[in-house]
């Protein structure tokens, strides 16, 4: 059991994370609050035997977003001893507003007045003693980024005391009202009583619902509300924030030597360019291209190719081979370790260098403050299909590889946008799907300039249609904080914080996605290499494997799409392992030997012979393009979506979408081209279009107004 537990509370961008990293060094773990998709990060300070619980960045303790409800439930619990409140000295008024919401809880508390160097650079003096005295809580000036004042802070944390005045911050009338309501709350403890009473006075929906049967209490609440409203001539919901800000305004006026606009001139000038009416979009596109160029086109891919081809393609396999030979291992074990495990795990780890480069660049953009500008600039477009400006970046990354692209979705804080992002990101064709596009293009559409724009246009169309359909649904209306966003100052992130962000993101990828992907890769490897015969389980060609058997037994479901052959089915299934496999498997199953390039004449002939019609080729392409991505990407998708329910939905949705697009292309496209006769399936295709149109045009579901987290959940 640790000696003391601290709850770290503060606004977003107040330097909370930097302080947390500084205090806990490397001993920390991330968990989830029970039943809620909010991360709980606990760090250990070993030299002191202290725990630090990093609560999400907050502006207030309102009942409207999961982060806020989870945090206030935690603050009202007995799971910690001291509140460590980080206050941004350069945004004193707004930061202290949260402090004044926390003070009435009466818990021992310390205020870390961070970014004190910003005040120095503006020649502003601040009277800490006065602040400490007036607030009634010890205020310690620090600078987390330049590690100043940390010793004083540790000392204050050790000696932390409860605030000198809790409810006394309020005028007599209000204090009495809070006490009156508190007395009717029964079993609640002292800290809960004053917080819950204040919340009830502000019309807090969660507590009003919880006490809906306590008529005595509710009538006292409404009586007290009217007392406050008539005395202060403002509604109770406005009264509390207004009171806090008025108190703070007076306090800040007395403790600051001069009150200047503390946004740096550098930030102002940079914003004049980066969010400029005409320059913003071109600059954004250039930056995205640069990230893409470094991580997908050059450094990242070079490193990933090296890892895939040399490390996991030559060095490790040959080392493993010689080891297995030296111990006289049986043939199947060699195959399992080298073709299965090493190539499977290698395929996953091979993405790592690319992801490191990508996350380094994106963490930089995020920590320096540019991502907030991206959201500001692109919000006007993306919100129409349930996404935000930040979703643009994963989409671009996805043209390289879906795995890091899905990981980038982590940086989107709005849960609805993140979910829609995770489901739509891999509609953008990744580099592994390029061989499929090339194959179909060369064999059927050679020289047709509309082909590539058509494929990419259809991909964007898939994203937009899916986004609009999903965002209208109730399931994608989880309550989130409204789009009221602070524009932080630009600042150069520290290398330590950058590497830390890259490390945590990559670590979770390697551990969690790695284990799922690895297991499935082994299973698929087995299915595509073995067959069950009368001699038992034997190793065979993919043509005769269990996978081929499965393929031929389910190929009938593709009759409406025009390609119901077992070869085409097996090739599509093999794409699950990696999309590159589609072309090679198709070649092998069509009786060509494995070594060829997409453009070879024999493959063209074989494909033309096999598919025959252009609408079949296009339908096959569509199914492979927009169905589920490969296993590696699915593993990440499952982890990021966080639950089996959401993952199943994503897989079913993507499969249905690709099936529908292929159906419409084959049946209706074929009908127009005169390649396919009118049949019952043509009618089905029209009905499918009708269904999608209905979902596209139906009325938007109202956002959920209530959060379904009980106040005692933590």
């Amino acid at each position: 059991m640790t000696e003391k537990r601290f709850a770290l509370v503060g606004n977003q961008n107040c330097g909370k994370t930097t302080l947390f990293n500084l205090l806990t060094l490397s001993n920390q773990y991330v968990g989830n609050w029970p039943g809620v998709t909010v991360d709980q990060v606990i760090g250990k300070m070993t030299q002191k035997d202290w725990d630090i619980i990093d609560l999400p960045g907050l502006y207030s303790l309102s009942p409207y977003s999961a982060e806020e409800v989870v945090s206030r439930n935690f603050l009202l619990s007995d799971n910690y001893d001291v509140i460590l409140n980080v206050v941004d000295a350069s945004h004193l008024e707004r930061s202290l507003s949260l402090t004044y919401e926390v003070i009435p809880m009466g818990k021992p508390m310390v205020i870390a007045l961070n970014m004190i160097d910003v005040l120095d650079s503006h020649n502003i003096k601040i009277d800490f003693e006065k602040l400490s005295r007036e607030i009634g809580v010890k205020v310690v000036p620090i600078s987390a980024s330049s590690k100043k004042g940390i010793d004083d802070l540790l000392k204050a944390m050790e000696e932390a005391k409860a605030p000198k005045k809790t409810l006394d911050i309020y005028p007599q009338t209000v204090k009495e009202a809070i006490l009156r309501i508190g007395n009717l709350l029964g079993e609640a403890n002292c800290q809960e009583k004053s917080f819950i009473s204040t919340a009830l006075l502000q019309g807090d929906k969660i507590y009003l619902k919880e006490y809906k049967n306590n008529e005595v209490l509710l009538s006292e609440v409404s009586k007290s509300r009217s007392i406050i409203e008539s005395e202060f001539a403002v509604d109770a919901e406005t009264y509390f924030p207004k009171f806090r800000y008025n108190t703070i305004e007076a306090l800040v006026k007395e403790s600051l030597s001069n009150k200047a606009d503390m946004k740096s001139n550098f930030s102002k000038r940079l914003d004049n360019v980066l969010t400029n009416r005409f320059l913003a979009l071109p600059i954004f596109l250039c930056i995205v291209w640069f990230v893409y160029y470094l991580s997908v086109e050059t450094i990242g891919t070079m490193a990933t190719d090296y890892a895939n081809d040399v490390i996991f393609g030559e060095i490790v396999p040959s080392w493993a081979q010689s080891f297995l030979d030296s111990v006289n291992a049986p043939q199947w074990l060699c195959s399992l370790s080298i073709d299965g495990v090493i190539s499977g795990v290698g395929a996953v780890l091979g993405f790592l260098p690319q992801m490191i480069v990508m996350f380094l660049l994106l963490s930089f953009l995020e920590q320096c403050g540019y991502m907030t500008r991206v959201a500001f600039v692109l919000d006007g477009i993306f919100r129409h299909f349930g996404l935000s400006g930040r979703n643009f970046i994963p989409m671009v990354v996805a043209t390289g590889c879906g795995v890091p692209a899905l990981m980038v979705n982590k940086t989107i804080d709005n849960i609805n946008e993140r979910r829609i992002g995770l489901i739509t990101t891999t509609f953008i064709p990744c580099s592994a799907k390029l061989p499929i596009i090339t194959m179909i293009f060369v064999a059927f559409f050679d020289g047709k300039a509309w082909f590539a724009p058509f494929v990419y246009g259809m991909s964007i169309f898939s994203v937009i249609v899916t986004g609009i359909i999903l965002k209208k649904d109730r399931a994608f209306k989880e309550p989130v904080s409204p789009f009221v966003m602070e524009m932080p100052d630009y600042h150069l992130p520290s290398l330590y914080n950058l590497l830390r962000a890259v490390y945590t993101r990559c670590k979770s990828f390697v551990i969690k996605a790695g284990t799922i992907i690895f297991a499935v890769v082994v299973v698929v490897w087995f299915l595509s290499n073995y067959a069950i015969t009368k001699d038992g389980i034997v190793q065979v060609d993919v043509n005769d494997s269990i996978l081929a058997l499965i393929g031929s037994s389910i190929s009938f479901i593709f009759i409406p799409l025009g390609f119901a052959s077992w070869q085409a089915t097996v090739a599509a299934l093999s794409g699950l392992l990696a999309k590159e496999n589609v072309v090679s498997t198709l070649a092998v199953t069509l009786g060509l030997n494995g070594d060829f390039e997409g453009g070879e004449a024999t493959l063209n002939q074989a494909l033309n012979g096999h598919f025959g019609l252009t609408c079949v080729a296009l339908s096959y392409l569509a199914f492979n393009m927009w169905s589920t991505p490969c296993i590696a990407a699915l593993g990440v998708m499952k982890r990021e979506l966080g639950s089996n329910k959401w993952f199943t939905f994503a897989v079913v949705y993507m499969t249905l979408w690709s099936y529908s697009v292929a159906l419409v292309i084959y049946q209706i496209g074929g009908l127009i081209l005169g390649e396919v006769p009118f049949s019952a399936f043509t009618v089905v295709a029209f009905i499918v279009i009708g269904i999608y149109s209905y979902f596209l045009l139906r009325k938007e579901h109202k956002p959920q107004s209530e959060i379904l987290i009980p106040s005692k959940s933590i």
Binding site: S62, S97, D271, T275, F278, G380, S481, F483
Partner: protein, 74 residues
Amino acid sequence: MKTLDSLKTGEVAKVIKLHGEGTSLRRRLLDMGITPDTEITKVRTAPLGDPIEFNVRGYFLTIRKSDASLVEIK
């Protein structure tokens, strides 16, 4: 009634009242410091015409146009 979304770039206004009682947006705006009598300056509009950036209490805040229309100013 004059509202926050009608402000021109560089103009300063004083908040009178927030409409939309009982919504999460109203509470959020109040908590961020947009309380009655606060001075607000419009900084810029996003390139696509929405959202809008304001200066409130020494920091910068972006709000969507439709949301800004809940804030009555003079």
